[in-house]
Symmetry: C2
Subunit: 281 residues, 2 copies
């Protein structure tokens, strides 16, 4: 199957399930919270993280549907992080995916609460999913760690605290790995947990996720190069355009070589990685 | 043992464990996040929610220490909710417990991220605690639900959306029950889960927590009466001073009568409730 078709099919499943998990509850006093959550969840996100979860499960010959709620929970977490990042006290972005960001479409305090809600609810969805308790606990532990102070939130902290500072590769690596690669890696690790894979296979997938996520973020920097406001440190501002492209390529190769240690056909994950890294927009 | 002494001893345990769970990590790039978390966690909170967890376990003749990490996770959640509530786009409170609120002592974006961190980390702490997987999953499900859109966050939404609106008892009840009573009730339910109590006992404790939390919040309204800026709807502004006192008393009696259905000595919980409701500040 073409990778584009695969993505389209799986995105559709995620969209549908997210709408079931967060109905609009029109009669409730807090209905605006659900409207706001739906606004951000259904604003054209590519569902990359859920698709990583599914693709890893297919690689292990497991039914990807068993992870639908985990994938949706991860998409809620990704969405919460974007909502909070866009707030005036953070990146202060008025637009997201060519639409007003949530605090512009609704209000600042609703955006703050909606982010809190999506983060909180993601753990409820995992706890209520149809996996064994042992797997649910492992998944919650992995995800909470990778989106916490030693993952996504830590990366966001360093990003904001370094604004207007002199660019530095070590800091950029920390930011990119924590802000993006951590959650990519968590997606793959969750699938490995669901599929009962061993420690060495989990490590291979973690490395694949980490290098893919890092490469993905550098490609973002490269694609943003022309529109970038120059104030933010990016792979291009630190390494230069050509060197940044080489770095992305190197990380992509590293990601693929982690996959080659798995005793499985990994074409789906490779095709997905290839599409993410070779993209033009 | 005197209830004050009990509270003091247990608070000390919570303080100590929180410092172990969130060390300052002085060498890390994101060390300010840990400093900020410690600032808010150790700013004189009364540790009421952890103490409810412990007192319920003692009522069931269980060792309260088995729930230390759960109690700390709940205190982190309470602290996150205060940090986010104080932000300029929410209640815009510059002071908390006679100290600058976190966004004043640090900055707005650090306060936002620190709240996100405490919320996220609370689930990691529960997932990594030394309970059975089945209990951890139940506890995560209960807590996430009671602090989500149908609990704390829902209550906060209705509170903020009703500002400057005409006061209305139904809305106030919704706010108080969701913002305060929900988490009180979750504390007691977690203890019942840990102690393997049956459904009817869990319901009795939920009702105790709900009515106690509601009464506690009305007592807050009564104590705040003189300093209240009159713009916010409170039990006093809706019911009047005397009627609000009667309502608190009625809810307190209801809370106690829920306890009397338990086949156990509930003196510790009763004494605790009494202290919370009869307090003068």
């Amino acid at each position: 199957m073409l990778i584009e078709k695969y993505i389209q099919e799986k995105s559709h499943l995620v969209d549908k399930r997210l709408k079931e998990l967060i109905p609009l509850n029109p009669g409730s006093l807090q209905k605006e919270l659900f409207e706001a959550a739906n606004y951000s969840l259904h604003s054209g996100g590519k569902r990359l993280r859920p698709i990583l979860v599914f693709a890893a499960l297919e690689t292990f010959h497991e039914d990807p549907n068993v992870a639908l709620d985990i994938a949706c929970a991860i998409e809620m977490i990704h969405t919460y992080s974007l909502i909070h990042d866009d707030l005036p006290c953070m990146d202060n972005d008025d637009m997201r995916r060519n639409k007003p960001s949530l605090h512009k479409a609704f209000s600042e305090w609703i955006a703050l609460l909606t982010g809190d809600y999506l983060l909180t609810y993601s753990f409820e969805v995992i706890a209520n999913s149809h996996l064994s308790d042992a797997k649910k606990v492992k998944i919650i532990s992995v995800i909470a760690h990778k989106i916490g102070a030693f993952g996504l939130i830590g990366g966001q902290y360093v990003d904001l605290s370094s604004e207007n500072e002199k660019a530095d590769w070590n800091k950029l690596e920390f930011m990119h790995i924590n802000k993006t690669a951590s959650l990519f890696s968590a997606c793959l690790e969750c699938s490995a947990i669901i599929a009962d894979r061993n420690e060495s296979e989990i490590r291979s997938l973690q490395n694949f996720g980490k290098n893919l996520g890092f490469a993905y973020q550098i490609v973002d920097d490269i694609l943003d190069y022309e529109t970038n406001d120059e104030e933010k440190a990016t792979a291009v501002s630190i390494l230069g355009f050509e060197e940044a492209k080489l770095k992305a390529e190197e990380l992509f190769e590293k990601a693929l070589s982690s996959l080659s240690t798995l005793p499985l056909s990994t074409d789906l994950l490779k095709n997905l990685a290839n599409m993410l890294i070779k993209r033009k927009s």
